[in-house]
């Protein structure tokens, strides 16, 4: 028996005697005989809303001095039943749901969802659309990794990096805003492409980002990568072997830090990733420091991908340079001026908005490389207007179960660093 001050979650529903029973039980726990083994550890309740956890995570830790003996995670504080919601929504209405999974890189989730739908519907997107998507997705990856790495800095005691790079996340958000009108929960793109062409301002902002960001990233890297205090805090903490990481279903930077070069962009290229030259950085020990370095290196790779994609886009000439969506009348909204003047366009507009288009029967699984790893969508359609079943493979949810194993025997302060270096995002964890 352990002393666990468990939260009574739905006090309202419980009758008074039931509450009393729980209270007596707790009381009973506290009056354990002296010298019992439980008394030798301290129970510490970290979270659910603790400034160090950067999200709603609860951990009931058993500590021996400052070392973690065991921990029990509680998740689900921001569970919003997305899979249930999706069963009543037509495809285009599911996109805003995906925003709220990993909200640090919403565009990747959106694109992943569009790609899933396109796979089900058999839509081929033009190359220019693919490249535009690659630009947006890689920007999202940079902003995701940037937040993760700078938060690792904050948790090891260096606030400067975090504040410094925020300006450049802001610039990325401005690019999103220019493309789709929103910043955090982007709802970017449509099935078949983008809702409108990229404006010149968007490209100017992108150029500004490409010009200024490498210098900033270099400086950010300089603050941490060979910083002795940072290295001593992170090397060896939260390490996992490649074998265990695979067994735990790790993907993304966390798996690559353990030394496995699995990247969905390379293994199953989507959105024309096969047209780009880039490396997959891998670590060796799978500890907090390797995770930091892998993410850092991935940002450089993402930058190079964006540059390549931008060059490819500039190479399009004439009518080709104006293409920003595929021809999918059943799912891609017609132009507004056509809706007001043409019967056909009006009908499609109505049918799409009301979600009256039946999709083909089938089961698809589509994965994209999200900020945290393989973000998968398992979509079952029974031929109706909404998905029959939609399951999100959320990388966060899968690798967070390894957390007790990662922090066991380490210091409490390292456990906090491990949590941020895993890049846990509550939205993705709880769906």
């Amino acid at each position: 028996m352990k002393i666990k001050p468990e939260l009574i979650k739905t006090t309202k529903c419980l009758e008074e005697d039931k509450i009393n029973a729980i209270m007596t039980e707790h009381h009973h726990h506290i009056t354990l005989p002296d010298g019992s083994i439980e008394k030798q550890t301290t129970t510490l309740n970290v979270g659910p809303t603790h400034p160090a956890t950067h999200g709603v995570f609860q951990n009931i830790m058993e500590l021996d001095g400052e070392r973690v003996v065991s921990t029990e995670q509680t998740v689900g504080y921001i569970h919003r039943a997305f899979e249930k919601l999706a069963e009543r929504r037509p495809l285009y209405q599911v996109t805003p749901i995906t925003d709220r999974l990993n909200y640090c890189s919403s565009p990747i989730n959106n694109m992943g969802w569009h790609l899933t739908c396109e796979k089900l519907l058999g839509v081929e997107t033009p190359k220019r659309v693919d490249y535009l998507r690659v630009i947006i997705m890689e920007l999202a990856r940079i902003s995701d990794h940037l937040i993760c790495n700078s938060i690792v800095g904050v948790d090891t005691g260096a606030y400067t990096g975090f504040l410094y790079v925020m300006q450049y996340r802001e610039l990325i958000y401005e690019i999103y805003e220019e493309v789709c009108g929103s910043r955090l929960t982007t709802n970017i793109g449509r099935i078949g492409g983008f809702e409108r062409n990229f404006t010149n301002t968007a490209f100017t902002k992108l150029e500004k980002f490409l010009k200024e960001y490498p210098k900033v990233l270099k400086e950010f890297e300089g603050l941490f990568a060979r910083n002795r205090i940072f290295m001593e805090r992170t090397i060896g903490g939260g390490a996992i072997s490649a074998e265990r990481a695979l067994n735990y279903g790790f993907t993304g930077p966390n798996l690559r830090a353990a030394g496995v070069d699995y990247d969905v962009r390379v293994h199953s290229p989507y959105s024309s990733y096969e047209d780009f030259q880039f490396d997959i950085p891998v670590g060796k020990t799978g500890d907090n420091y390797d995770r930091f370095l892998v993410r850092n290196q991935e940002m450089w790779q993402s930058l190079s991908i964006i540059e390549q994609a931008y060059q490819k886009i500039q190479a399009f000439k004439g009518a080709e340079a104006e293409i920003y969506h595929a021809d999918v009348p059943e799912y891609y909204l017609p132009k507004k001026e056509d809706v007001y003047t043409k019967m056909e366009a009006l009908i499609w507009h109505f049918k799409i908005i009301m979600g009256e288009v039946d999709m083909p029967k089938g089961e698809v699984y589509k994965a994209v490389e999200g900020g945290n790893g393989e973000l998968g969508f398992y979509l079952i359609s029974d031929g109706g207007r909404t998905p029959f079943r939609l399951h999100f493979r959320r990388p966060c949810f899968i690798y967070y179960q390894a957390y007790p194993e990662l922090i066991k025997g380490g210091m409490l302060s390292d456990a906090i660093v491990t949590m941020s270096s895993l890049n846990l995002i509550a939205g993705e964890l709880d769906a």
Binding site: C13, Y248, G362, E363, I380
Partner: protein, 168 residues
Amino acid sequence: MAIDNQYLQIKLTEKFGDLVFNFEDSYGMLSFEAPKEQNLKVLQYLYDEPTLGFQFLTDLCAVNYPDDKGRELAVVYHLHNLQTNTRIRFKVFTSIENTDVFTASKLFSAADWMERETFDFYGVNFVGHHNLKRILNVDEMDYFPLRKEFPLEDQTRIDKDDEMFGRG
């Protein structure tokens, strides 16, 4: 180089005979089915057989088919061979009255929480799981919310007439 679906099907039929069935090529991924008592044997074979090597559990979830009597719940495993980059989908069906399915968490640590999530939403009882309790919903909940018997919206609402759009 990805393993050919044809080859996978031959290997599985050689080993399990009639116990594996409903082979289907679903958008390039081989999908098949086995009786629920066989799930661990199939998973172990896919894991151990050197030419198959499906050692990565990508995803585990359940699906509810309320109209399919005796096969109301499906547990779906997505497995991945990272070396050859081959994916496979494996399903077992179970009735809603007796939802016992053997746990895969001994084989894949990743299955631990995925099975808890599946239990939480569909009530699939994973036999042998070390800690099968609710994970995302509150512990006091006494139903399995993702089953189709629970409609998403309040069905007694009268201000919204879905029949106007042919969806009753």
